[in-house]
Amino acid sequence: MTTDVSNLGGRQAGGALAVELTGLEGLKLPRKSWFPRSTVIRVLSPLILLVAWELIVRIGKVGEIFLPPPLSVLRVFVRLTADGTLPYAIWMSFLRTGQGFLYGSLLGIIVGLFVGWSQIIEDIVDPLVAAIYPIPKSALFPLFMLWFGLGDPSKVVTILVGVLFLVLINTVTGVKTLNPILIRAARDLGASERQIFLKVVLPGALPNIFTGLRLGAGIALILVFVTELEATNSGLGYLLWESYQLMLVQQMFACIITFGILGILSTWFIQWLEKVLCPWSTTVTRQ
């Protein structure tokens, strides 16, 4: 599960390929000479798409109501940013996502470490996880609104639950796949059970924990959008939905693009955190 899952975490195929090559430094592959050309293509590709998009709309083959030209989207984007609408929406969504993500991942890490470490705790928690995990977390939102009211808490809890399971499952995997010889070695070097837990099990599980965090960040963004469709008048999801209902197509595009930017930023943030907290991890050395 871990390997295919880590590919979902936003790593590009080109980056992964470059890593396989580092093991073969002596082989003098013609990689260097290709590099600038590859970069040029990567920059040109989206630019050409944008130009084509602008042209198609200008020629008038597609109605602006379905596909506004990129420049008009940019204008609306700038205006919404300048008048504070977009920053406020981002801030509200960030608060909900941030709280849900923080609490969900802390809980997931702590419970996951204990589940992976203790058979009894695993026997208690495992059937619960197996029963709840397959439920789409957005399907729990109405229930949480019933329990926690229409305000932010129900949104935060929905995000929390979504993040919790992904982090929990990956943390358990991290503890379980830890090489048992490392625990033996620590014991041989005189470590107590508590020290083994803190100094071997926790750092040993960190790379998998980060896999869970990357996936959790993705689900958190999905869930903040879904939960902001209902019972609120703030946030990026709300703004996007309102733009649709008022047929403000440029504004819709501006919101969608903002969601994309937030996705990229959250991935970067987690990559940075991983670099700081586990510099030895292979996913870090691959970056």
Binding site: L182, R184, R187, L189
Partner: protein
Amino acid sequence: MADIVARNVRKIYNPDKRYPVLAIDEVSLEVRENEFVAIVGPSGCGKSTLLYMVAGFLDLTAGEIKVNGKPVEAPGPDRGIVFQHFALFPWKTVLRNVTYGLEEQKIPKAEREKIARKHIDMVKLTGFEHHYPSQLSGGMKQRVAIARTLAFDPEVLLMDEPFGALDAQTRGVMQEELLSIWSKRKKTVLFVTHDVREAVYLADRVVIMTARPGRIKEIVDTKFAGYKSTEEVLESAAFAQKTHQIWKSVREEVDKAGPLDG
């Protein structure tokens, strides 16, 4: 004084299950202080089992093992293990891996680093203190593991096929380095290996174990006195003769163990 005494040791895996496995039986062995003893035998003969029982990781089904006159009950800092697959902590740098054992023994930080650097220097890895294990070659990793174990100064060194995962050239270099370290810092060594030549070259005595259930078949004296250099030992007729004798003896057991146990 740190000697190892094993008396009538027996180990049964899964004793309460349907298919109990008698891994080793009636093993009695004495390793004298500062002696280097190697154990060879066919795969599955229980040589690693014996080593892990001395380390305190496995319970004995019958018999007793004493280290330094005290019965073994749990792992302890008087015995240091070097594992085949290095068992370095991937999240710690070379320096931190080596200081780890000292940390657990509550040695002050400055002192720890001094000891660690001395041992890193001894295994010729100065300059790699801040590398992570994933950035090192197999031979370098095993050197770190040896430095880590020697740093906390155990009286007994238990080595479980420490060079088994290394290529032939690196293995040769590591064998020489181990001998040179051992000659400077005498320790009681119990060394498990598949490689008969390695056993004859390194050890004072070589213990040959039978196919499962592992018993001690014979113990051969392999001390070569009066040679000036490693090459001279390796090229001597005595060395070739001992290697051949032990190889033949092990081979008989491999044949007995049959293809399924290989």
